[in-house]
């Protein structure tokens, strides 16, 4: 079987030949990045379409329904049909909107989360940009979503949008703290902020961090679910209370951008969880190594996404005060305690304990 590293080499040598053919070899460095970005965008768009289908199938399964089954085999093309419907829809805009933020918000919401995909390693050496500070980069770049959501809620000039934006931003800001703090123990143990480095550490140590850091894994998944504004933490969008939240006044392609951004946020946090806690591209058992790493990686990502989808139909929605209490009075103390304990262990047994 082909490994991710070989695949990357194959594709890059193919690209070199194409550049030579088109007489563009001088710009190879820039062109490589453009190709990476386009491929990543295509992958994310198709994957999100698949996820929307999966979400509907999972929820149908949990409610003893069949789910979409009309368009294409197993209803797989249902999302494509929905996407075409959304993009051809009329773009209805409020007359008294604040024009510039209203226009920028959906773009920012998608771009901010999409940029997080850049540092996620799909396999050994199969990563767009293997930044030395990958973990920090993802945390920093995804913080733009708060500005996007606030702009959307504010510029729509609608009180439901504004309230939804406020709630959403408050929630994201609150849950960003436990999200980051639950990654800290792993960084303390490995001494690395680089995703590939964290996976390589797990390879050498022979265990995945989900076992010694099970608490951190749980708090990470919980805060990632809240961070993506998904049920049971979906108060910002609670259809019954806020008529859709910050994107009430958005329609057509602009709404699709928010929708896409939300799913990409789920993909990014699942990818981070799979990399940091589930060993990324490593096979679960040694003799299963013949299956390429990126397949294992995608399987782990899908497993975590399935978990997050299953949450939606397992837990009832939290009230606003319960939501804030859970974030500040449960998750944050637990993560800080976890950091303290991990610190003691690292101090006593040295790194790698």
């Amino acid at each position: 079987m082909i490994s991710g590293e070989k695949l990357v080499q194959l594709v890059s040598s193919l690209l070199q030949q194409v550049y030579a053919l088109l007489d563009l070899s001088a710009y190879a460095g820039i062109l490589d990045r453009v190709v990476c970005a386009v491929v990543m965008f295509g992958f994310v768009a198709v994957f999100v379409m698949f996820l929307v289908w999966m979400e509907r199938k999972v929820s149908a399964h949990m409610q003893s329904r069949i789910g979409p089954n009309r368009v294409g085999p197993l209803g797989l093309l249902q999302t494509l049909a929905d996407a075409i419907k959304l993009t051809t829809k009329e773009d209805v805009r409020p007359a008294k909107r604040d024009k510039i933020p209203y226009f920028i918000a959906p773009i920012l919401a998608f771009v901010a989360t999409f940029m997080g995909m850049v540092v996620v390693p799909f396999d050994n050496k199969m990563v767009v940009a293997d930044l030395n500070i990958g973990v920090l980069y993802i945390i920093a770049i995804t913080s733009f979503t708060v500005i996007a959501i606030l702009s959307a809620g504010w510029s729509s000039n609608n009180k439901y949008s504004l309230l939804g934006g406020f709630r959403s931003a408050a929630q994201i800001v609150s849950y960003e703290v436990p999200l980051v703090l639950s990654l800290v123990p792993v960084i303390m143990i490995t001494g690395k902020l680089n995703f590939s480095g964290i996976v390589q550490y797990q390879q050498q140590a022979g265990y995945w961090f989900v076992f010694p850091q099970f608490v951190a894994f749980i708090t990470f998944i919980a805060s990632a679910t809240a961070e993506a504004n998904r049920a049971p933490f979906d108060i910002p969008e609670a259809e019954s209370e806020l008529t859709g939240g910050f994107h009430t006044e958005y329609s057509g392609v602009k709404f699709a951008m928010f929708f896409l951004g939300e799913y990409v946020a789920v993909v990014v946090s699942s990818a981070v969880a799979a990399t940091v806690f589930l060993g990324g591209w490593l096979p679960p058992l040694h003799f299963l190594g013949f299956i390429p790493g990126f397949v294992w990686f995608m399987l782990k990502v899908l497993l975590i996404i399935y978990l997050i989808m299953a949450f939606r139909w397992t837990f009832p929605r939290l009230r606003v005060d319960q939501l804030m209490d859970f974030g500040w009075k449960v998750l944050i103390p637990v993560t800080i305690l976890n950091i303290l304990v991990t610190g003691f262990v690292v101090l006593l047994f040295g790194k790698g304990a």
């Binding site: 604040d98 030395n132 980069y137 920093a140 913080s143 733009f144 500005i147 504010w154 931003a169 800001v173």
Partner: protein, 177 residues
């Protein structure tokens, strides 16, 4: 090519900073401020300091600007563009800003930007030429080295921040019971 990149970044920073102080709609000001901060992090990236760039985005875009936007949203009306850009202390503020600019200019002119002058930084030779490999650990060594680092100042600032945090909670509580 890289020179051009710097001038583009500098242009974005100066233009958006100019917008921050001239636009009458406060919400637009906050967005322009976010762009300014993002441009500054771009300059850090340009200089090869990925860590500082990420921290700049995290703190100034992700936290400070969001806080400012929250403040604006809680106190202003949508589409309110009647914020006063000038007040009657324009001369004094011009003087103050000019003095700061002069001092900064002189400092930049007279500094040769040798990282290794300080003993704490000299102990970590990687700092003289920031390498991608060890940027974070060299920063940590320079800051928290037990012999000649700034561990005490670091802890002091931590305690200061913690007390400010507790103070904020105490002030924000409805009834002190």
């Amino acid at each position: 090519m890289t020179q051009a990149l710097f001038y583009i970044l500098a242009g974005v920073i100066v233009a958006s900073a100019f917008l921050v102080v001239t636009v009458r709609n406060l919400f637009h000001c906050a967005l322009a401020l976010a762009l300014t901060m993002f441009g500054v992090s771009g300059v850090y990236l340009y200089l090869g300091w990925e860590f500082l760039a990420a921290v700049q985005v995290l703190i100034y875009v992700g936290a400070v600007t969001v806080l400012i936007i929250f403040g604006i949203m809680l106190t202003r009306q949508v589409m309110d563009d009647h914020a006063r850009v000038m007040n009657n202390q324009i001369l004094v503020s011009l003087l103050a800003a000019g003095a700061v600019a002069l001092v900064l200019f002189l400092v930049i002119c007279h500094s040769d930007f040798q990282y290794s002058n300080h003993p704490a930084l000299a102990a970590t030779p990687t700092l003289t030429a920031p390498t991608y490999a060890d940027e974070v650990s060299s920063l940590a060594m320079g800051l928290l080295n037990p012999q000649n680092g700034f561990a005490f100042a670091f802890e002091f600032v931590s305690i200061l921040l913690l007390s400010a945090l507790i103070g904020a909670v105490v002030v924000a509580r409805k009834d002190p019971a």
